[in-house]
Symmetry: C2
Subunit: 454 residues, 2 copies
């Protein structure tokens, strides 16, 4: 892994030292000697991460951090504050200013690379999911990012009972702890509730099991691979720690464990996990909007066209049947004209809800336009399509629709059913034949199902 | 990094050897001794990667690969075929069957971990971008995946002239080569056309420059960080190669370079790059669909509401002005009633196009519903909004609209303009005042701009 790192410190010797360490590991380093220079560098070409000394004359690191985090163009750049060991209050101020992590002077190599890499990895993920393009495409569904601050369930693996109790004492109130003494108990906890954990703490020196193996298993299991892991480790176990970081462990605590350090590390990891999960669900929600009809929640025409073409192909190559129903609300124009568009919309919404209860998860229910709907019935013959169409027709006609408070309207639909003729027929032709059958149902008196001619 | 690896070989000793190597590096290993077992394991719990011996009695590795790749549930799992050195034709058959990469027996550790890690990284990216959820949300815009097979531009860095010519000779016809002799020339090529390269080949033993530094720079620059790097290296430069792979180099070739090996490695890397780029653009296109009005290509109401709230906040906190225009087509219902919906749609499309030419890139042009439009003017006062509104009104009225072939209609719009009152006002109130101004414009005779009262 490599990345572009901006190092900011007013003491030239400190800048040179960090620059040398990072360059030796083939990071690209840019430097700044004061807050103004740093802000200029960040805006000119946002780096992948900023290492920022807190104590600087003029604009201090906290203020630089605040400005980076409050500008929309640079807020996504991770910031690590470098604080003096004797200034613990800097951490609280740094967190308020939006800092992502902390290092204490003198900066230890393992801590430096662990924190830089961990944050760069998260930024790469965010860059991929946000697809930064001038317009923030995810702006649409960014609500609820505050959820990131919520407490979470934490799984503690391999700590001795006394230590587990101490962790519980420190973290209680903020987090719900589950303790697994052995690898076996850990596996059971993950099977049962892997996705519920916002953090897993692993004792790297646990007895009776290879903690590194447990970490690699956690990072391979689908239900925990995205969950951050924080390891606790004895100071002399340097090599094991490096190994753990290699496997993908996210952060570490050296024993004896400092209460403040534990709280800060846990909070940071849980926050990052929540942020990444939030990004994922934002992308998913946005993608779902693109294929959904806003009024009924059914799939939209765009999605229908795309998916039907694929389903037709799959049916032909697998020699399986496929059928579609084309539905249209009878006399819908008069609903709109008589009761207004809002009433018409309510009818369409209720219709969508009733359709949904009559299709299987392998089927596709779509609003194809205005008062027109299409249902794709996977692996269904024409006879089955007719039965499903008849069932839907009856379900619509059986119970009037509440179009407005106190306004119950009898609604009926006409349905055309068609099934795929075979290799010669495409999605468009199939829909066309279903439409023709639908017109016949209309002509023959509505509120009925017609079958398409072959 | 870790991952779940399925090792398939009919020779137990081979399985055990690969299992031992992978386990020692903390990969999670599952094994199968024949094709049927392998398919069962892949379907039961898809691994992150499959290492598949070609020569097996019964179902051979090529057939297993073909089946994994032809099932939608498992096609995304990367497959590395393990071939005998004396069976080069297995590669061609393997590629046809969908194999992602190859290893030659006896399996070399560097090659093994390089290829496994490189493919697992790509799969992780794909998993993130596809957000596998039962429904393939990207199904919508998956067209053009075949583009993956297209040739690409390749940048060759630091090879001696004779070697560069040899590479050109082998790759010509399939790929366009650009040769940079020095680090300086490489930087210039990337500045000029970094995004055009589908692959960068770097001589790890180049003279007069640190090739590892060049690789880390390429992996840090925004325009080349996603471009794969293939290094060429002398057999004795083992440590440098490991370092290069650490930095994020994607694959390597040991000198003397074998023509077939070069072609295969280049094709594999270019194909993967294209695949990743395709995934990214699919996600982007899907996200864009979610915020766009299908008819006019302007932003939709959903996006307007979300963005306007943010713009109002930013304007208030930055003490900058913000204005909106509410537009409505005059007598639009009569267009629809007289000339039909298709003609009405054409008018709205043309209107959208004209609006677009009158807004800046920092503005937001939206179709808020039916024949209603909203334009958000960033950092604009009420006086500016009035001028822009007037300009738009004139541009619409100046030239009739082609509603259908031979059918030119005079169209006018009424416009209401409002500017943000300050901290007290929200997006909804601002829109409301613009709407009220619009109604006044209608009442006062249409084809005019009215300003909102404060």
């Amino acid at each position: 892994m490599t990345a572009r790192v901006l190092v900011v410190d007013d003491v030239v010797a400190n800048v040179r030292l960090l620059e040398a360490k990072l360059s030796a590991e083939y990071f690209e380093v840019v430097t700044a000697l004061n807050g103004a220079e740093a802000l200029e560098a960040v805006h000119a070409a946002p780096p992948d991460i900023v290492l920022l000394d807190v104590m600087m004359p003029g604009m201090d690191g906290i203020e630089v951090c605040r400005r980076i985090k409050s500008s929309p163009a640079t807020a996504h750049v991770p910031v690590i504050l470098i604080t003096a060991l004797d200034q613990p209050e800097d951490r609280a101020r740094g967190l308020q200013a939006g800092a992502d992590d902390f290092l204490t002077k003198p900066v230890n190599d393992v801590a430096l690379f662990c924190r830089v890499k961990s944050l760069v990895r998260l930024k790469m993920l965010a860059d991929e999911l946000r697809l930064r393009t001038g317009v923030d495409l995810l702006g649409l569904v960014e609500e609820g990012a505050e959820a990131a601050a919520e407490p979470g369930h934490i799984l503690v693996i391999g700590e001795r009972p006394l230590m587990a109790e101490r962790l519980r004492g420190i973290l209680a109130g903020r987090h719900e702890l589950r303790v697994a003494a052995s690898a076996q108990e850990a596996a059971e906890a993950c099977d049962a509730a892997g996705r519920a954990f916002a953090l897993i703490i692993v004792n790297l020196d646990m007895e009776g099991a290879d903690a590194l193996r447990i970490c690699s298993q956690l990072k391979s299991l689908p239900q925990t691979r995205q969950t951050p892991i924080l390891v606790t480790v004895d100071p002399q176990e340097h090599q094991r720690l490096l190994r753990a970081l290699d496997i993908g462990v996210n952060d570490y605590l050296i024993r004896p464990i400092d209460r403040q350090e534990l709280l800060a590390r846990v909070a940071t990891q849980v926050r990052r996990f929540r942020y990444a999960q939030h990004l994922r669900s934002s992308v998913r929600a946005s993608l779902e909007l693109a294929i959904t009809d806003g009024l009924t929640g059914l799939y939209n025409r765009r999605y229908l066209e795309r998916q039907l073409a694929q389903l037709v192909q799959a049916a032909v190559s697998g020699e399986r049947p496929l059928a579609v129903l084309a539905l249209d609300v009878d006399f819908f124009k008069s609903v709109n004209d008589t009761y207004g568009h809002a009433a018409g919309d309510r009818v369409l919404q209720e219709l969508g809800a009733r359709l949904r209860t009559h299709v299987r998860s392998s089927d596709l229910a779509c609003r194809s336009g205005g008062e027109e709907f299409v249902i794709v019935l996977n692996e269904a013959s024409l006879a089955i399509a007719e039965r499903v169409g008849e069932r839907i027709r009856k379900a619509i006609a059986a119970k009037p629709f509440l179009a407005a408070p106190g306004c119950l309207l009898p609604i009926t639909v006409s349905v055309g059913a068609a099934s795929l003729l075979g290799a010669g027929e495409g999605a468009e032709e199939l829909l066309k034949r279903a439409d023709l059958a639908l017109y016949r149902a209309k002509r023959e008196g509505r509120n009925r199902v017609s079958l398409a001619a072959a």
